[in-house]
């Protein structure tokens, strides 16, 4: 009986993500992956049907892991600033602790695999986020606004800082590393921008 070797499966996943990040989807092949893992091509085909199946399965699993980590300790019923703070902590942690996976998602965003991956983000993740925003509107903590406007104000500043951090430099090539002071200063500005009072 052939035993599914979990260590090998994990190695295949890790190396596949690394290979997509370094060579892109066009440069990715099962043969290259097998070489990178030091295993036979046949072994990979036992786990996955083909290149598309492999990338889709890995993307879906990684997206699930990311959404679980993003929802850790997050309560959609909490106050807006508290909930958003947890979101910022979780999202920053994910990107900073998983730079390769984050780069993998960046590649996925502009690929044909995007749709399948997004479908698995729908569900618990989308429900929690939607409920959270609806609660905040109901409680008068933020104004009603198009979802894209909300997302851009609530998260794009965070992802900009994280991109600077990952690349190690900001505008004009200035060296940059994230710290708590910068993170929470930006967060306070975001909360201010989203607060109905800030219009006055």
């Amino acid at each position: 009986m052939r035993i599914r070797n979990e260590e090998k499966v994990q190695l295949v996943k890790q190396k596949a993500i690394e290979l997509v990040v370094s060579d892109g989807f066009e440069g990715f092949s099962v043969n290259k992956l097998a070489k990178a893992c030091g295993i036979s091509v046949a072994t990979i085909y036992i786990y996955y049907k083909d290149k598309d199946d492999l990338i889709t399965q890995i993307a879906v699993e990684e997206a699930k892991r990311m959404s679980d980590l993003t929802l850790e300790g997050f309560d959609p019923e909490s106050s807006f600033s508290e909930g958003l703070r947890v979101q910022w902590v979780n999202r920053a942690k994910y990107v900073m602790n998983n730079p390769t996976s984050s780069a993998f998602f960046e590649q996925l965003r502009t690929s044909t695999y995007q749709e399948q991956m997004m479908q698995c983000l729908i569900g618990r993740f989308k429900e929690s986020m939607t409920l959270f925003v609806q609660n905040a509107i109901k409680k008068g903590e933020i104004n009603e606004m198009p979802m894209e406007v909300y997302w851009s104000v609530a998260f794009a500043p965070l992802y900009s800082l994280l991109r600077f951090h990952t690349e190690g430099r900001s505008i004009g090539g200035k060296p940059f590393f994230m710290n708590d002071d910068i993170l929470w200063k930006t967060f306070d500005l975001v909360i201010m921008a989203l607060s109905p009072q800030s219009k006055n």
Partner: protein, 74 residues
């Protein structure tokens, strides 16, 4: 998933018309649960899910259609 039932081969089934040539035989076989060919791969890997067939039997079937097929060793 029982990986024991997955048979993997190197082939020269490269194009859509190559695929079409083996499709009839593999699709209609009562002991083949599922099969795929990765035409993008250099080995054109044929993957057959079957609890009853052996590598040898699949090789015979594909060869009869006029294609190369050899077992890929795990």
């Amino acid at each position: 998933m029982n990986t024991e039932h997955i048979l993997v081969f190197r082939s020269n089934i490269k194009t859509a018309s190559d695929r079409f040539a083996v499709e009839r035989v593999l699709d209609s076989h009562p002991h083949i649960d599922q099969w795929t060919v990765d035409c993008d791969d250099t080995d054109c890997v044929l993957r057959v899910v079957s609890s009853k067939l052996t590598h040898k039997q699949v090789i015979a079937m594909v060869t009869k259609c006029g294609y190369n097929c050899e077992e890929l060793i795990d």
